[in-house]
């Protein structure tokens, strides 16, 4: 089936070397190429525009003069903190163009209004109510452009008793219940060591925006989307409703360290191997054959012969004891310790076992599956020596390439292209606007 997928590699070589969007031929084939997005977000909502830009949308990132604050978030290339060296910025703003604009000035506001008239979406993540106070609330924007879809991404949404509360990734993980399921029972609940709340919010906002877009295509009507980061993280920790009203169960549940809750017993899920860890657990019932695959594999190496006769299909986690489970697990534990995680992953594929390595970033960079599927893009950036690989295409379409086509923009990189080339300002105008701190 490989041949039916649009191949992106060649395209990237040709144009990702600079980020001017002069060559629009490749855009033309992309589904969202005809739509423009004004992206006023900071870190909180930046992924929304990135995801839509991957499908061709012309996303213009509008930063305050001097550059958005999110450029100060590290890690930085070669650990040198600099607005053009922020790795999260590279990631969140690839495929976008960038201009600087102070929307709180009369000139800045007029420019924004001009841009708004030809835009299809506006994405913003300012505190709830802020845009109203500077005269750019949804009703004002709608009057300028009735078809506009405005996407507002805020920690707790546009209304409700907590609308002005402060948050960060950690507090979102805590409040949603996500932290409660990570870590050991007798120690503090944990977060993931890499921020996820804002990525979830951005991706879910893009889903909401596309749903509103479908409606606009039918009716011509735009609307306002109110996305709460809190609810976005709730959506990935679902269960509060059914757990509270129907009962405990399903997935999730109280954190159990390296174990996974299966009713009254806890099945080991993260196992030590020779050079790290692998993820696997004993499957039973309908999925019992997945355990048998590992037993057969162990037996082929002369181990785990005690388990040869166990019929995993008739075993029910609801009735076994923890002691029985621990005994079975001790045989698997010995076996996994004999091999490296790479050996185990390769053999697991051969034997049809659902066992996976606990990968580090380095492992992922070398992962064959990702490599063969064209997951990476080669990027050039003026601040970075040579080219570098970057995770790129999360979706493979048979019709077009939806990965990185352009690197993230430098501060004000497309000011001339947009203000002079498109809006018709003169070079002199731009000089005035620059000195006045407007762009």
């Amino acid at each position: 089936m490989n041949q039916i997928f649009a191949e992106g590699k060649a395209i990237i070589k040709k144009t990702a070397l600079d980020s001017t969007h002069q060559d629009i031929s490749q855009e033309a084939g992309l589904p969202l190429a005809r739509y423009r997005i004004l992206d006023l977000t900071g870190n909180e909502g930046a992924y929304c525009g990135r995801l839509m830009a991957d499908f061709g949308a012309d996303v213009i990132k509008i930063e305050r003069p001097g550059g958005d604050f999110s450029r100060n978030i590290g890690p930085f290339y070669k650990d040198l903190p600099h607005p053009e060296r922020s790795i999260p910025w590279y990631f969140l703003n690839a495929n976008k163009r960038g201009v600087t604009l102070n929307i709180e000035t009369a000139d800045g506001r007029q420019i924004l209004e001009t841009l708004l008239k030809r835009a299809h979406f506006l994405i913003e993540s300012s505190p709830a109510g802020y845009l109203e106070t500077v005269g750019l609330g949804y009703s004002t924007l709608q009057a300028i452009n009735p078809g506009l879809i405005m996407v507002s991404i805020t920690p707790f949404g546009q209304n409700g008793p907590w609308q002005d509360w402060k948050s960060c990734d950690l507090t979102h993980m805590a409040l949603s219940g996500f932290a409660n399921i990570l870590g050991e029972p007798d120690r503090a609940p944990m977060r993931l060591s890499v921020d996820q709340a804002c990525l979830q919010a951005g991706a879910q906002a893009a889903a909401g925006a596309m749903i509103a877009h479908y409606y606009r295509q039918k009716t011509g009507k735009g609307q306002h989307i109110d996305l709460s980061i809190q609810e976005a993280v709730n959506n990935v920790t679902t269960g509060s409703a059914y757990r509270s009203e129907i009962g405990e169960g399903g997935m999730g549940g109280q954190r159990s360290g390296r174990r996974f809750n299966r009713g009254h017993v806890k099945a080991l899920d993260i196992w030590e191997c020779r050079d790290g860890y692998v993820a696997w657990r004993i499957w039973t019932g309908q999925l019992g054959s997945k355990t048998k695959a590992v037993v057969d594999w162990m037996n082929s190496e002369g181990l785990g012969l005690e388990l040869k006769e166990v019929d995993w299909a008739i075993i029910d986690y609801g009735t076994i004891t923890q002691e029985q489970l621990d005994t079975w697990e001790s045989h698997f534990a010995k076996f996994f310790l004999r091999h490296t995680k790479e050996q185990l992953y390769e053999k697991a594929i051969e034997w049809g076992a659902s066992l996976f390595p606990v990968n580090t970033p380095k492992d992922l960079a070398g992962n064959k599956q990702l490599g063969e599927r064209g997951f990476w893009a080669k990027i050039e950036h003026p601040e970075v020596e040579g080219t570098f690989n970057c995770p790129s295409a999360a979706v493979k379409s048979s019709a077009y390439y939806c990965g990185i086509r352009y690197r993230s923009p430098m501060v004000g990189e497309h000011n001339s292209e947009i203000y002079i080339g498109e809006l018709g300002f003169s070079k002199e105008d731009i000089t005035i606007l620059k000195q006045a701190g407007i762009i």
Partner: protein, 415 residues
């Protein structure tokens, strides 16, 4: 079929996606999450199941009233609202014929089986395209349709280790932790929705359908781009940081009064630090050199965390969270399911919506994270009982006569 429902309003739903038809072969989490969101916004979603091979969530706890039954699982119900349910035996030619008729009806076919399964069922993209040339088909398999590991089966609960997540749930110097939720399953649905609706826009303009191959692995890995690029650009493997953050201190989760009660708090600047000190009633140590500045707090973070915990452990989690937030300090209790359920803010925002399920009874569903101002929030239909809408789909959507339907049912096609 045993549960009589009023089907008269099936086509009168006002939603943004009204008119969009989705043929849904997905099961468990990733696919059903995408289609429940589309259904909630008014798309007509037909979930195809087989009585021989149930969506395994139909057998998952919790069961309503503690009584087992295929229509009683709370977790199945949570991921399958706003769908019509049909049972279909695809191993019978008449069953496959019905599936193909539904492909003609559909704008989108979506599935998340192991690669090759749809082909074996006679419903590959090539077959679907023969049936309907502009069909959009999306597959959400574990590791994608191509590549050396594509055939390896499994679930998100372990796939997330492959995608790099468990490695990042750990205290410095300790072993990685398990994750009780299949997190990668909750990354892929948003990519699927965007990809599908972009494909619909593309089809409406060009007349062309397409095949969309989304693995559960790749969107998951994409969400770890920052540590991966840190490795590729700086040759550094991300250090697990527990609950800390490079540029904030304190930044952690602290034990409160009571059983398993905890509160997270984070201090990013001087005013938040001063506010925290005030809420703590300015204990003697906050004025010491070792805690006065961010750099000092970073250097003495172990001690700082110990002192904060000493204070926090006397506090009520909810009350201290409110006090901190009212003073401008980011804070949040570590919520259990019941805490989320009872939360006044979510309730005010209408995060929960009650519907009456024929076997489970009246209970709540959780909204998408976004509210649309014009087309509203439309969770309107509980999850289907097994085969609940088979008759409606055969007679009203496919236009069969009652006799034809009865014949199919008696031949075991609708199982």
């Amino acid at each position: 079929m045993q549960n009589k429902v009023d089907n008269s309003n099936l086509h009168e739903l006002e939603g943004a996606l009204e008119g969009l038809n989705i043929l849904d072969f997905t099961w468990i989490v990733a696919g059903p999450t995408a289609t429940r969101m589309l259904g909630a916004h008014g798309a007509t979603v037909i979930k195809i199941e087989s009585t021989k091979r149930l969506d395994i969530f139909r057998a998952y706890q919790p069961m309503a009233g503690g009584i087992p039954g295929v229509n009683r699982s709370g977790v199945f119900d949570a991921y399958n609202h706003d769908k019509l349910g049909m049972a279909l035996n695809l191993s019978k030619p008449a069953g496959l014929e019905i599936a193909k008729k539904l492909v003609r009806w559909a704008d989108i076919v979506i599935e998340n089986f192991a690669p090759g399964t749809m082909d074996r069922l006679g419903l590959s993209y090539d077959e679907a395209k023969k049936t309907k040339p502009d069909i959009i088909m999306a597959s959400l398999s574990l590791q994608g349709q191509t590549g050396p590991s594509s055939k390896q089966g499994g679930f998100g609960t372990e796939l997330q280790a492959l995608a790099g997540y468990n490695n990042l749930v750990r205290w410095p110097g300790e072993a990685p932790q398990g994750m009780q939720n299949p997190y990668t399953d909750f990354v892929v649905p948003w990519f699927a929705i965007v990809a599908i609706l972009a494909a619909v826009d593309y089809r409406n303009r060009t007349g062309k359908g397409q095949y969309i191959d989304i693995s559960q692995l790749e969107p998951g890995v994409l969400f770890l781009t920052v540590p991966i690029m840190d490795y590729l650009l700086n040759s550094r493997e991300a250090k697990p940081v527990g609950n800390r953050c490079d540029y904030a201190s304190p930044h952690g989760v602290f034990r409160c009064r009571g059983d398993d009660r905890w509160c997270a708090l984070a201090v990013f600047n001087d005013s938040q630090w001063q506010a925290l000190c005030l809420v703590m009633d300015n204990p003697y140590w906050v004025g010491e050199e070792s805690f006065r500045t961010l750099l000092a707090r970073k250097r003495n973070e172990d001690e700082l965390e110990r002192l904060i915990e000493q204070w926090m452990v006397e506090q009520d989690a909810e009350k201290v969270m409110s006090k901190l937030q009212e003073s401008g300090v980011p804070a949040g209790i570590v919520a259990h399911a019941q805490d989320v359920y009872d939360e006044p803010h979510l309730r005010r925002r209408g995060h929960f919506k009650k519907l009456n399920h024929p076997e489970i009874g009246e209970h709540s569903y959780e909204m998408p994270s976004w509210r649309l101002s014009l087309t509203g929030d439309l969770i309107h239909r509980p999850s289907p009982c097994l085969g609940e809408h088979s008759e409606y789909i055969c007679t009203k959507i496919l236009g069969m006569s009652d006799d034809e339907f009865v014949k199919l049912a008696s031949e075991g096609v609708l199982e």
